[in-house]
Amino acid sequence: MNAFVADKALTPAEADGSGEPETLLRVDNVSLAFGGVKAITDISFDIRKGEIRAIIGPNGAGKTSMLNVINGFYHPQEGTITWRGTVRRKMKPYEAASQGIARTFQNVALFKGMTTLDNIMSGRSLKMHRNFFWQVLWRGPAEREEIEHRKKVEEIIDFLEIQAIRKTPVGRLPYGLQKRVELGRALAMEPELLLLDEPMAGMNLEEKEDMSRFIIDVNQEFGTTIALIEHDMGVVMDLSDRVVVLDYGKKIADGPPEEVQASQAVIDAYLGVSH
């Protein structure tokens, strides 16, 4: 018998022994409409601390809108969002960011003319304590602070294995690497909850494998809770602990991957039935 084979990985809840998983974020009866168009209708689900939570659904199901609601970009007309046990008031995205919610975008949204290093450094801006004046002066405390931030950024560069492109302007990088840099910038915020909007869109198989590896590692090494939208079902089933399925703005399933996969409603949504 193979003495090295590891036991099944413990879920964070099991690991901390509390038994009852801690809920990081809860969405209760949220609805969002743009004029007459209902993007999200009466959706509730939760994200537990330390898990990888996938949000899936056919095109136009309201997945990205859901992420936008979570990170404070959209404000739901109805329902509440509870973040770490407190009901959240209406807020701006940067407030969400300073509370520990970071995200990447479906289309890469980096500063194309800046280097990888500078892009990731920009993710640290919320953590900079010295004011603008100090940073322009860049002496004493500001300099020391920058060194601290650079250290953190170098750890991320090391983690994502992008040392070779540290000084390359991101506009010159292939798409797969740009996605990785974007993940790096989100990680630079040291978020508690990381929202990934189609992190693997447009990638080839090898890049997808790499990205999956990074997502798992981020989750395990930093203990970051992750909510991701992804269309590649293989990836979703492999990565996520729990999956919530949306269709036409409504929640049609929620649970572990195997369960969701077997659900008739999900199969119908993906294969198409008349509505």
Partner: protein, 669 residues
């Protein structure tokens, strides 16, 4: 270190001085003598992290004691898997201190091959770089039943693994440190333990890839490596101030000697790059003083420079062209210390300031005292390019069984087509069969668990068969002509070395591939493949129109050009008494490019001689039946997998012979 040089003179094959005959002993010595000098660097988190010799000594001791507490004992084998990292080098010496034998293996080899090597070596421990290697090893635990513990350097991704037999490098070291803190005598005991090691003990086992059959485990003793390392250092006057970049596979004897044996014996600093993709940047930052690279690295650097120069502004390009002309004319002469006119010398100085200096800086070779290339033949133009910049690039010939060094080019005696003179303490001879044989203090102890192979490679009195055919030129330099098994004879008894002839042809940029025939025939015939890029750009410049490779290959002007190349090769061959009999008598330019899709080349772009002989049977016939043209039909496979037929009438040209004696005299004069 002047003292050191006096102590071990070049050519002293005797046991190493003052009991410094194993790497653990040398480590203690270096920690004493070089204490605060930097021994290792690794770029991590964007910064060069460094360790002094005394620091390294402490790291190795802690790890070694930790290994001992895990049950590693003398005679055990310990696999080292991963890219060049200080901790993996240290692990080797830490194992040696206990009497265990490190077995570095190629980290990127396929699982099956690695499993064979680890199983054959009966490794008890494995020290690996990261999760990827851990997974690989765990997957082969059935084939390697002897494996008891796996120790990894990079923690990432391994948290949730079962850690009964899996340990992090740091935890093993911590254990070693904790044990030392508990018992004050432990350090002394450990040092006493390593003092019992002898020069004749096995230091390392390196598996040779072996083009045929299973890899063989070459056992090298401390004496082999320590003496070879010292001789290498003395030969090129290397001391503790050198900087090297460790970037070639750790399982390869070259890296083992350059980054461990020579580094320890000289006390110089080994720099490990941040990752495999950052080597160019890292080399520029370190600027190694002693540098080794296979020819393809130099080729790639040269191509990069040329491509960048194409994009440069007009002034820069003009400067580059002007001064490169100067360098071509006098650069090598200046490097070799020959006489050069004052005007050229001044121009060269100017060139150094404007062009050569910045170029060398770009390549990270500004501080290079001596550089070597080996492994395969390097194109003379490439070799000359670097030398003309004032870089002391040389060739060496060696193999695992010799602890690298067999021959080296001494400073000032650089000839493009030879691999140099016997290294210090090496005896060289050519066997009846034309095979190169050597005897030296670096000669391996034997193949692990393979006495049969040992007996067929190493004679009872210590001579080793290299498997390469070669000749020793009048100036005492060795020239390698081919693999011994490929060398044949013409019917008149003249030596026929196909690869030697093909390489000579391929050094012309216009010739991409060549296949020579002649074994057991009355004369030599050659197939030539033109290089579409080089000949195509020539055609463009000379208003030669063509629609396809086939048409260009059959063009009379192209034939004339290739004919002049073949004639030049014949002239060169005529100058060498051993080779003069194998001049090319007839050649043809193939109507299609040799292609791996058609099975004519291997996937690594090596010619499959026997396959080609079969496929182009009628053309070979035509080479020998005297006909001037031959009509052929060849089936080809397109990239989408469809098959087609190529028809062509191929012209065959006769070549005049050059008089061996006469050209030899010409050359001598």
């Amino acid at each position: 270190m002047l003292q050191g040089k006096k102590r071990h003179m070049v050519g002293s094959a005797s046991a190493s001085p003052r009991g410094k005959d194993t790497f653990p002993k040398i480590l203690l010595h270096n920690a004493r003598v070089f204490g605060n000098r930097t021994a290792f660097r690794e770029k991590d988190f964007g910064i060069w992290q460094s360790w002094t010799w005394s620091g390294v000594s402490e790291e190795i001791r802690a790890f070694s004691i930790g290994l001992q507490s895990l049950g590693l004992k003398a005679g055990d084998k310990i696999a080292i898997v991963g890219a060049n990292r200080p901790r993996l080098y240290w692990a080797m010496v830490a194992a040696q201190a206990i009497g265990a034998v490190p077995v570095p293996v190629y980290a990127d080899s396929v699982a099956e091959e690695m499993a064979y090597v680890l199983g054959h070596a009966e490794v008890a421990f494995a020290i690996v770089e990261d999760q990827e290697q851990v997974d690989k090893l765990l997957s082969m635990s059935d084939e390697v039943p002897s494996l008891k513990h796996v120790i990894y350097d990079e923690v990432r991704g391994l948290r949730d693994y079962d850690h009964t037999h899996l340990h992090s490098y740091a935890s093993v070291q911590d254990k070693g440190r904790a044990l030392q803190a508990q018992s004050a005598s432990l350090k002394g005991e450990w040092e006493q333990g390593l003092a019992t090691g002898k020069g004749s003990d096995i230091a390392v086992m390196l598996y040779t890839s072996g083009t045929t059959g299973r890899p063989k485990g070459v056992m090298l003793s401390f004496d082999n490596l320590v003496i070879s390392g010292r001789n290498g250092n003395d030969f090129d006057h290397l001391d503790e101030t050198e900087e090297v970049l460790a970037y070639l596979p750790m399982a390869w004897i070259g890296d083992h000697v350059f980054s461990l044996a020579q580094a320890f014996t000289a006390g110089y600093c080994v720099n490990c790059p941040e990752s495999m993709d950052t080597i160019d940047v890292d080399r520029r930052e370190i600027a190694p003083t002693y540098f080794f690279a296979p020819p393809r690295v130099f080729e790639t650097m040269l191509t990069m420079i040329m491509v960048n120069m194409e994009d440069a502004g007009r002034t820069k390009r003009a400067m580059f062209d002007t001064f490169m002309d100067v360098a071509r004319k006098v650069g090598e002469k200046i490097l070799n210390g020959e006489k050069v006119a004052l005007k050229d010398r001044l121009l060269y100085r100017l060139g150094e300031f404007f062009v050569y200096g910045p170029l060398k800086n770009r390549m990270g070779l500004t501080r290079m005292k001596v550089g070597y290339t080996a492994g395969e033949a390097i194109g003379p133009e490439i070799f000359q390019f670097y030398r003309s910049l004032g870089l002391n690039l040389k060739q060496l010939y060696g193999q695992t069984e010799a602890s690298v060094y067999i021959t080296l080019q001494p400073d000032g005696e650089i000839f493009g087509d030879t691999v140099g003179k016997p290294a210090p303490d090496v005896e060289l001879k050519i066997a009846e069969s034309g095979e190169v044989m050597y005897r030296s203090p670096g000669v391996f102890v034997g193949y692990f668990k393979n006495d049969e192979a040992t007996a067929s490679t190493k004679t009872p009195d210590g001579w080793v068969h290299t498997g390469d055919a070669g000749i020793i030129a009048d100036n005492g330099h060795l020239k390698i002509i081919d693999r011994a098994k490929d060398v044949g004879r013409l019917t008149d008894g003249a030596l026929f070395a196909p690869k030697y002839i093909e390489n000579k042809l391929k050094f012309f940029p216009n010739i991409k591939e060549a296949v020579a025939f002649g074994h057991e025939r009355d004369r030599v015939g050659v197939f030539v493949n033109i290089d579409l890029t080089a000949v195509g750009s020539w055609a463009e410049r000379n208003n030669v129109n063509y629609a396809s490779y086939q048409e260009l290959a059959a063009h009379p002007d192209v034939y004339a050009m290739i004919e002049s190349h073949v004639d030049q090769v014949n002239r060169d061959l005529a100058r060498e008494p051993m080779m003069a009999g194998a001049q090319i008598r007839r050649f043809l330019i193939l109507h299609k490019e040799l292609d791996a899709d058609d099975g004519e080349l291997t996937r690594t772009q090596k010619v499959r001689r026997s396959f080609i002989a079969e496929r182009y049977g009628p053309l070979i016939e035509a080479l020998y039946d005297g006909s001037a043209t031959k009509h052929v039909r060849t089936e080809v496979t397109y990239e989408d997998g469809r098959k087609g037929v190529l028809e062509a009438t191929v012209e065959i040209r006769d070549m005049p012979l050059h008089d061996a004696g006469k050209s030899f005299q010409e050359a001598a004069e």
